[in-house]
Subunit: 147 residues, 2 copies
DNA sequence: TTTACTGCAAATCTTTTGCATCAAC
DNA sequence: GTTGATGCAAAAGATTTGCAGTAAA
């Protein structure tokens, strides 16, 4: 990503480097807020607006994608890590990655029945995961709400 | 809905009646903001917070569901009208209703392969609709990769 | 009369923007 | 030295909340 940036003539500032690193090191998806926290830890002067501006740039260059899983928090993930989808557990907030192939039948049926080209990059499916399903007791959900 | 409310001991205020009416009369999905606009037109004194509080109540009572289609606007729709899903066109913003049956195969495969109980009431699928598909082919990067 | 509901204003929370300054090239 | 990038503060947009007054039952 940094190569791509400098290649395209963008300046390589320490802030940018750290933000890019945060996105690249994220397992899969990361919010602007999480990136900000990470960067601030080592570079107390950075501002959130820089994070947003950098993410916007990365998105414009096609290096990261933005996903709105609902709940008022947009997630970012590096394109180079490939596409994946999310099963979001509404009990415990866990995010399970879903293989692309699981959605191909849906994509095809939408295309044939509705002539709709589904962009399944941005898909989050809400539900209940295995663990929460078995431990019926409701945890005082900490991470998510968007019921 | 009004029956249900008064039945449960909630007070029937004119504001509440109008908010409920707005939700019931909406074709399918309506935002808090749209409800507010409708209500304010006839009752200039109502406040947005009343709209939100009423929607929260209706949701708690299981009379409406909340759907976050992304883009920072939450949509509400009456449960009694049955579930439906949305195909959201990212070109023109059109929202196409999708029959529940189209998603049953997905729901089942998620259950079997991931032991995940998908709550498909809250699903919005981004993509490109028929009209926009036939017209100006815009961003080559996006439509090509099928990312 | 009682207290649930409302309006208002102010607070959140996430993201954006204007602007003067600063630093990458 | 240019001018693109940053920090700061303030704005914007959606939603929430504290509080005192009001009206439904």
């Amino acid at each position: 990503m940094t190569d791509e940036l400098s290649h395209q003539g963008y300046r390589m500032t320490p802030q940018r480097l750290m933000i890019v690193a945060a996105v690249e090191n994220s397992s899969n998806h990361i919010s602007a807020d999480e990136i900000y926290s990470q960067v601030v830890a080592k570079y107390p002067n950075v501002n959130v607006s820089t994070v947003y501006r950098t993410l916007e740039l990365l998105e414009r260059l096609g290096l990261v994608t933005k996903t709105d899983l609902g709940g008022g928090r947009v997630m970012y993930h590096p394109v180079e890590k490939g596409h994946h989808h999310h099963l979001v557990c509404k009990e415990c907030g866990a995010i399970i990655d879903l293989d692309e192939s699981a959605l191909m039948p849906l994509k095809e049926s939408l295309l044939h029945q509705y002539q709709f080209i589904a962009d399944l990059r941005h898909l989050g499916i809400l539900g209940v995961c295995v663990n929460c399903r078995q431990q019926t007791p409701k945890k005082p959900a900490e991470s998510q709400q968007g019921e």
